[in-house]
């Protein structure tokens, strides 16, 4: 195996935020599930978004019972499972994307059970070998993450934790202490899905968290339009768009590429 030519893991993620900061903008991280609409199309969609200049990726591993997800992602991930997508397929996709020369950081998003079934340690090792830089596990709060956290720390892989509008100071401090790479801030009490308007007290939510931590903050849930994206500059270190891109994928790779381009351009 040749030595990786890009920085990886925590370092790659931290460089991503630095780069965005020098450009006075928020980093844009699309979420996209492997296997939707099918394996090849998901690879093409991610490659097209990489070309559009996005900053990093949340690569979705599908789960039969995605209880933090709204209808758009439920339907897409269900389709991915019906297409025969497995944890192994998702790792293979990351490897294929790296072989195509895609250098942006990639974090694997999965609910806990598929990773536990695969073997936590083995998953982290295989994800790293495939070219992933970290993990996002929405049903794994920091106090349950002991073993995951140890293995990720040893391998210099990010393990992202979440905060929500309901999180009190104690929770914010816990996430700040345990999260590596960034903290994923959920913009609203709810599940994933497009929203017409973002919450009006976002700046207050962010300021409240910022008070207690220097860790990069990435906002997600509901963000779907270039107008929303433009609001992210100065508010957060990065943001995630999922459902809107998944919906665009119904119209083909060009639509995904176009939306990613529009979202990215709105940041300049």
């Amino acid at each position: 195996m040749t030595a990786p030519t890009r920085t990886f893991g925590l370092e790659a993620i931290s460089q991503m935020f630095q780069q965005a900061e020098t450009e006075n903008r928020a980093a844009f991280l699309p979420y996209f599930p492997i296997g939707y609409p099918d394996y090849d199309a998901s690879i093409e969609a991610i490659a097209a978004m990489a070309d559009a200049g996005v900053d990093g990726f949340e690569i979705g591993i599908s789960f039969s019972d995605p209880l933090a997800d709204g209808p758009a992602i439920q339907v897409a991930t269900q389709k991915a499972l019906e297409n025969g997508t497995t944890v192994r397929t998702c790792l293979q996709a990351v490897r294929a994307l790296r072989e195509r020369g895609i250098t942006q950081p990639m974090l694997m998003m999965s609910y806990a059970n598929p990773l536990v079934a695969y073997g936590t340690e083995q998953f982290v090792l295989d994800a790293k070998a495939a070219g992933a830089d970290g993990l996002i596990v929405p049903d794994l709060p920091p106090e349950e993450a002991g073993y995951f956290a140890d293995v990720c720390a040893r391998e210099h892989m990010a393990l992202v934790f979440f905060l929500a509008p309901t999180s009190n100071d104690a929770r914010i401090k816990l996430a700040a202490e345990k999260a590596t790479g960034f903290i994923y801030v959920v913009s609203l009490t709810g599940i994933t899905g497009e929203r017409r308007d973002l919450s009006t007290d976002l700046s207050q939510i962010m300021a409240n968290i910022r008070r207690l931590t220097d860790t990069p903050l990435v906002l997600g849930f509901g963000i779907s339009t270039p107008e929303h994206a433009r609001m992210m500059n100065g508010l957060v270190n990065g943001f995630i768009v999922g459902s809107a891109l998944v919906r665009a994928a119904n119209q083909g790779t060009d639509a995904v590429s176009k939306l990613a381009q529009d979202l990215r351009n709105s940041l300049d």
Binding site: L67, N113, T189, I191
Partner: protein
Amino acid sequence: MTMANYLKQGAAVPDERGYYGEFGGRFVPETIIPALDELKAAYEQAVDDPAFVQELMHLQRTYTGRPTPVTYAKRLTEHLGGAKIYLKREDLAHTGAHKINNALGQALLAKRMGKQRVIAETGAGQHGVASATAAALLGLDCHVYMGEVDIARQQPNVFRMRLLGAEVIPVSSGSRTLKDAINEAMRDWVTNVRSTFYLLGSALGPHPYPKMVRDFQSVIGHEAREQIQEEAGQLPDVCIACVGGGSNAIGLFHAFRDDENVDFIGVEAGGLGVDTDKHAARFGDLSISRPGILHGTRSYVMQNEDGQIMETHSISAGLDYPSVGPEHAYLRSLERAYYTSATDEETLEAFQALSQLEGIIPALESSHAVAEVIKRAPTMSKDSVILVNLSGRGDKDLDTVIKALEGSL
């Protein structure tokens, strides 16, 4: 009968983090972690408050009709020719199943916490009916998630819930059964967490639910332990209960946990047989069931190699669930409890046997426990005693049974 505060029996498990050995915990999105903290604190306060405990016990007595009796099943005993069989009659509790014990407790807690909106999931509809009933009694708004498959096979309970003023929300995702109803209820809770109380119906989910549900249901064993000594003159040799999520079983077992000579048997849904893939025997088929994480807790989960949750099958909606409460996984690991299963066919035979020999039409869930009694009693001596939890009555199941027995009735 004296009624001590059964909510405060002081058990060794769970620990502060909600673990039963290696099982349990809180594997949920961050948004609801503060709500679980709030719930745990409110629950601990409530059980220390004599006014709360008295109100619950008063309702148990004057509304639910507790204590429910223990009945000696004389003809079934004679028919089987072995151990003496006693039935703990949760079928006689208001709404027709043990589910009311937990629903009333949690609804009182919701009211105390100032949460006007309660949500619940339901499989057989018994927990939905119990929740709708408690909500009507206490003036709360109730919304019940129910899989479309279960709506079709438990129609009478759907009407009951609507009559009681609850909204029944059909769930069309996934296998359209209990598992998916829990997913939707959790999504609702994540969204409306500040205003809403999630009234979870079995001893599963994230901490503190498995403990809270166990404690509310432990009234079953608490009563039965005294009653069986009066009726049979001794403690039972074995306690038998069906296990869906595990609330009626843990509710019976809990009071006997220090009685080392009392064995516990949990009966899972054997469906078309544990050698097929159409069952819900989480402990009975370790080729497709192993420790994993579903609905916020670590326990045994039926799943494929890739960690995707499997669809289950049972003739009874209430046992048709791919995971099981964490305390059962723990009791099994200690070999304190033993788990077996009954097939759909054995269940239907038990359903008819109890109807014809005792004049009691049991729920299909409870019939699984009776099926185990039919297998076990003849192998035991005549002076031994079986206590079986008759968790509910079978009126809700008549449609299913009529279809299954077509021609033979």
